[in-house]
């Protein structure tokens, strides 16, 4: 087995804000192989975006990261600023959520795509940067003329394509997509997903995909990791996890995305009671126990570790 492109070992991220220490990510370990695709699922506040941002160290200064993150053989947490900047563009690149806010409203999108290339010196001059911009726009399915547009002149889907083009500018090996389709319409979402899929094939990209929409992840990624209260509670091959969840939380989450045509979900919406816990005040024992329909006395005692739940599958539940 070759060395994975991304390897995280016991990564914890704690925010030290005015309200005391808030653990956002707690002892997460995961591997992502070259050319693989991993979907990180979970609800708001579960720590999925924090985890993704920690890979390129894009966290606010009050966040403390512990553990080990190895990206393309480099220890990210010990990189100096110079090496970090290089890693941010060449090893991994991130596609942010909220396509409107991530773009500068007073600059043409062509300029914004060209900028990182000029900064990082991956192109010799302005002219080359322009050629490359046009090429990148073409690759994400936008006409070259769009380079002269301002963000507000583009539709939501087009803006998302621009963000992807920006992320691709320095030929990264890992593409981190944080809720890239959330605000988009169904058809546009499908277009963007198809685009990501094609890019992944063509450029041998490794994809880390983050969203609350389990069904999108299942469609777009080979593997799936479900996060709850800062930890991975279940992981494994997408279709197996989505089709036969082992952890009660994954079950509840999967039920929120009913299979159309499946008589068992017709007129029977199902979900979990209660709300996700606040990272600052986690329940005692298994953090899921207050919402878990199967909780027993034992679940109040200790937080279960991930255990084997089938071939290539793990789940953090004592019932497994």
């Amino acid at each position: 087995m070759t060395e994975p492109l991304l390897s995280m070992r016991d990564v914890s991220v704690t925010y030290h804000g005015s309200g005391g220490a808030v653990p956002a990510v707690r002892r997460v370990s995961l591997d992502l192989e070259r050319g693989g695709s991993l979907g990180l699922a979970g609800e708001s506040g579960c720590g999925k975006s924090t985890l993704a941002n920690s890979i390129l160290r894009l966290l606010p200064p009050d966040a403390v990261v512990e553990g080990q993150i190895v990206l393309d053989g480099k220890d990210v947490l010990s990189l100096r600023p110079g090496g970090l900047r290089a890693a941010r563009w060449t090893a991994g690149a991130i596609v942010f959520q909220g396509a409107l806010h991530a773009l500068n409203p007073v600059q043409t999108v062509g300029r914004q795509i060209a900028e990182p290339m000029l900064i990082h010196g991956t192109v010799p001059d302005e002219e080359a940067a322009e050629r490359r911009t046009v090429e990148l726009l073409g690759r994400v399915g936008l006409p070259a003329a769009r380079a002269d547009s301002y963000p507000h002149q583009l539709s939501g889907g087009q803006r998302q394509r621009v963000l992807i083009a920006m992320a691709l500018a320095c030929e990264p090996m890992l593409l981190i997509a944080d809720e890239p389709t959330t605000a988009l319409d169904l058809m546009v979402q499908a277009q963007v997903l198809r685009l990501l899929e094609e890019l992944k094939e063509e450029h041998d990209l490794t994809l880390l995909f983050i969203t609350h929409d389990l069904s999108v992840l299942t469609y777009a990624c080979r593997d799936l990791a479900v996060m709850y209260a800062g930890r991975i509670v279940e992981d494994g091959p997408s279709w197996e996890v989505f089709g036969g969840p082992a952890h009660p939380y994954t079950k509840g989450l999967a039920a929120a995305f009913p299979t159309i045509g499946d008589p068992s979900s017709r007129m029977a919406p199902s979900g979990l009671g209660g709300d996700p816990p606040m990272p600052g005040s986690l329940p005692v024992g298994c953090p899921f126990n207050p919402r878990c329909p199967y909780a027993t006395e034992a679940c109040l005692e200790a937080e279960p570790e991930l255990r084997i739940a089938g071939t290539d599958r793990r789940a953090a539940c004592i019932l497994v």
Partner: protein, 316 residues
């Protein structure tokens, strides 16, 4: 579904134009007591304008909206209540939950035991014990609870129709099912009708009796939820369904481009420039010509199944 039953809401040949833009361009629909109708469409389909017109917040250019047989002329009708997409924004941060739920009663000025009515509405919306929520402010409860407060504030008015605009889109996925189950239960318990606007076809499968699909200011297909979601006939509905990740295996038909501008509605069938059926060249030439040149017309008033598509209408 039952002939002779009075519809709660009847929209007849409704047009709402903003200058050149035809946001609603000839829509007719009925919602019967005790049913959930899902209005499905992408942004730019005109669905938001349509529900604003039903609510009385938007003046129609032509056509009528009537509630229980009476044409909506007044600005507001207490029998029609709203559930919003973003419960956090829908609640005034400076009002307590009690004041929020009691607000409608105070505006309507009906007598009765206000405290009892508020408690009852909160309890029916799943906030128990209701007294515990009375003094709280919106920021002190969770997102799911906020949406329940919005629903309680609507239910306290004893509405006949609930208009729900993407009621779970801004909520965490695991809470979604609970809110949908609450809406379904209210329909069954009170005989209320719900018109739910959504782009989420899974939601329609979960709670809707009927589905109406909207494209560029018109309903293009309508029918029972099982028919529409299991055996869609209009090519737009088919394409939409094919890209829902939750659908069981179905060949994906990703349409090219985005919904055209409402100021430039194509002539002929408004869907024809993007229609995969027309592009597939399998249609008989005379039908294809109709698609390009002749408007298949709006879906007629009623609850029957209909697809505004020439190949379907000509039995192809």
């Amino acid at each position: 579904m039952h002939p002779g039953m009075t519809a709660i809401v009847e929209v007849e040949d409704l047009h709402v134009h903003f200058g050149e833009a035809r946001a609603v361009d000839g829509v007719s629909l009925q919602v019967l007591p005790g049913e959930v109708l899902a209005l499905v469409g992408e942004s730019g389909s005109g669905k938001t304008t349509l529900i604003r017109a039903i609510q009385g917040l938007q003046k129609p250019t032509s056509g009528t909206v009537s509630v229980e047989g009476r044409v909506q002329t007044i600005f507001h009708d207490p029998r029609v209540q709203m559930v919003f997409q973003d419960p956090t924004g829908a609640l005034n941060p400076r009002q307590t939950i009690y004041e929020i739920v009691a607000e409608g009663l105070r505006i309507k000025g009906t007598g009765g035991d206000e405290r009892h009515l508020v408690a009852d509405a909160l309890a029916r919306s799943g906030l128990r014990p209701p007294e515990r929520f009375f003094p709280l402010y919106p920021h002190e409860i969770s997102g799911g609870q906020r949406q329940r407060v919005v629903i309680a504030g609507a239910m306290v008015m004893e509405p006949r129709l609930l208009l729900a605009d993407e009621p779970v889109a801004s909520l965490d996925a695991s809470i979604r099912g609970e809110i949908l189950a609450l809406m379904r239960r209210l329909v069954e318990e009170t005989g209320l009708a719900i018109l739910v606007v959504t782009h989420d076809l899974g939601l329609a499968w979960n709670i809707a009796d009927r589905v109406a699909v909207m494209y560029l200011g018109r309903i293009v297909e309508t029918g029972l939820a099982e028919e529409i979601l299991d055996r869609p006939r209009h090519p737009y509905t088919r394409a939409l369904l094919s890209v829902v990740p939750e659908t069981r295996e179905m060949a994906q038909q990703i349409l090219v481009g985005e919904i055209p501008d409402l100021t430039r509605i194509p002539s002929g069938c408004r869907f024809h420039p993007r229609c995969p059926l027309l592009q597939s060249d399998t249609l008989a030439p005379e039908i294809a010509a109709r698609c390009r040149g002749e408007d298949p017309g709006p879906v007629p008033l009623g609850v029957g199944a209909h697809a505004a598509c020439w190949p379907v209408l000509s039995g192809n």
